[in-house]
């Protein structure tokens, strides 16, 4: 079993929305499942054709609608099925992270990483790490949640 942090006491289970690109990271997630690797149940996967498709509106909406963290996983640079889709992602997501931090949202709630179709173990590792990082932060600040 994965290690529990002290935040577990209050029973908070983070909800994570993970945008996975069809060709690499989604295949990697699939491979992790097939290999029976232990994956955190907190992840809600959303398949997109390319990580470059993930717009900032989608990230913000996910947070507003109830996610405590957003994970964006794409192909490694140079491996994008569409050539340069992940070139957009690699500029967009870090810039958004900086802006979110500036507005008062913890940077650790948004993570971008690269996972190829063969990297089942890497998928498991990144998702587990991210869930724990968000668990330590607690739920997203209430005024930002749209369901008030």
């Amino acid at each position: 079993m994965s290690e529990r942090t002290s935040n577990q006491v209050d029973g908070f289970e983070p909800k994570i929305v993970a945008f996975l690109c069809n060709w690499c990271s989604y295949a990697g997630a699939d491979a992790a499942g097939i290999s029976r690797l232990e994956l955190p149940p907190n992840i809600l996967p959303v398949r997109v054709m390319c990580s470059g498709r993930v717009s900032i509106e989608m990230v913000l909406k996910a947070l507003m609608a109830g996610a405590d963290g957003v994970l964006v996983l794409g192909c490694h640079i140079g491996d994008c099925h569409y050539g340069s889709g992940n070139h957009r992602t690699v500029k967009r997501i870090p810039l958004l992270r900086r802006l979110m931090t500036y507005m008062g949202i913890e940077p650790d709630r948004l993570r971008l990483d690269w996972v190829s179709g063969a990297e089942a173990g890497r998928f498991a590792k990144i998702t587990t790490e991210f869930v724990e990082a968000v668990r330590a932060l607690g739920p997203l600040s209430l005024p930002l949640r749209e369901g008030l």
């Binding site: 109830g66 739920p139 209430l142 749209e146 369901g147």
Partner: protein
């Protein structure tokens, strides 16, 4: 003439704030000036009508608030009702109701006069708007006379006055040592029972200093100017920023949408939200099917003037503009309603 000393007025307001929701002009925003910004709003606090907990929060020397008191009768955002699933799986509907009766203290005569238009639109025909009606019924208006007409004000050109008592329940006029008090309605009489009033013989109300009055266009001039290129010329510099419609005491257009949201505790609820809309926004008049009769900016700009000075007077027999001047102050490109009115009034009709 009835009179109340300043101390007694403050004491009454403090007590009132415990019993009702007391809404009064109060400074809002950061106290520090934003250094060196062109934006006049960033130069210090602005005054709005907001709920206060005691009289020390009231901004006594205000001219007029940025947004009119209309926002308390038709809130910028209002949840009309929510629909949830109850504990036994049944559907439960909660209507939003006012928690306490309200007093709006310090409402200017022009703001109060603007409620005539809202009353006409929201209450005249069946079915009346129950949410508006409830707010109106449960609110007492204690007006504060303007000692002068402020820059950009033109209430006297549209049938109003800075010291008019027609539309409030009590009217206060600031004098030496306190306020002269005019009880106008039975509702005002009831509210005034808690006030420590004195009878003062020969107390004269100061006459407010007035701005120049000007002629407004006749109905024929409005009809004749509809297709004039004038609207294009004015519309050239309009940004469609809609600030004019948001600050106005008589603007009342709204949009209603149903939203499904998940609450922080995970329940799915539906809420019906009503929010301000503006005839200046591009899709305001778009029809089902996609046709937009006001696709051009000048058509939308023109509508604002026609709505206030032609449609509302013709449809409801009440003046659609109270001359508060807020839109004049607020417009970032100086589209001045007074200038437009005088330009049209000067036109020769064939």
């Amino acid at each position: 003439m009835k009179f109340i000393e300043t101390q007694a007025l403050h004491a009454w307001l403090d007590k009132l704030a415990q019993e009702v929701t007391l809404i009064a002009p109060t400074a809002v925003g950061p106290e520090k000036k934003a250094p060196g910004s062109r934006n006049p709003a960033a130069q210090g606090q602005q005054v709005f009508y907001r709920a206060v907990s005691d009289s020390s929060q009231i901004a006594w020397d205000f001219t007029r608030t940025v947004i009119s008191a209309r926002e308390h009768f038709m809130p910028k955002t209002e949840t009309l009702f929510t629909i949830e699933t109850g504990p036994d799986g049944e559907t439960v509907l909660h209507e939003t109701k006012l928690e306490r009766p309200r007093v709006i203290f310090g409402i200017r005569p022009c703001d109060a006069r603007g409620l005539r238009v809202l009353d006409a639109v929201m209450l005249e025909q069946e079915p009346a708007d129950v949410y508006y009606a409830e707010r109106r019924r449960n609110t007492t208006l204690v007006g504060l006379s303007c000692p002068q007409m402020w820059e950009d004000c033109f209430c006297t050109s549209v049938g109003g006055a800075p010291n008019a008592s027609d539309d409030v329940d009590i009217l206060l006029t600031q004098v030496e040592g306190g306020c002269a008090v005019q009880i106008v309605t039975a509702k005002g009489e009831e509210l005034a029972t808690g006030m420590d009033l004195q009878e003062v013989e020969g107390l004269e109300l100061p006459q407010p200093k007035l701005n120049d009055q000007f002629e407004t266009p006749t109905e024929q001039q409005w009809l004749a100017s509809f297709n004039d290129v004038y609207w294009q010329r004015v519309g050239d510099r309009c940004l469609s920023c809609r600030i004019c419609t948001y600050v106005c005491p008589t603007c009342r257009c709204f949009d209603v949408r149903d939203e499904t949201v998940v609450t922080p505790t995970g329940e799915r609820i539906v809420r019906r939200v009503r929010a301000w809309d503006s005839c200046q926004s591009v899709n305001y008049r778009v029809h089902a099917g996609g046709h937009n009769p006001r696709a051009n900016l000048e058509q939308r700009l023109r509508n604002r003037f026609y709505c206030k000075f032609h449609y509302v007077p013709v449809d409801y027999d009440v003046a659609g503009c109270v001359g508060c001047g807020r839109c004049v102050t607020a417009c970032p490109v100086n589209i001045d309603i007074r200038e437009v009115l005088q330009d049209l009034a000067r036109r020769e009709l064939a």
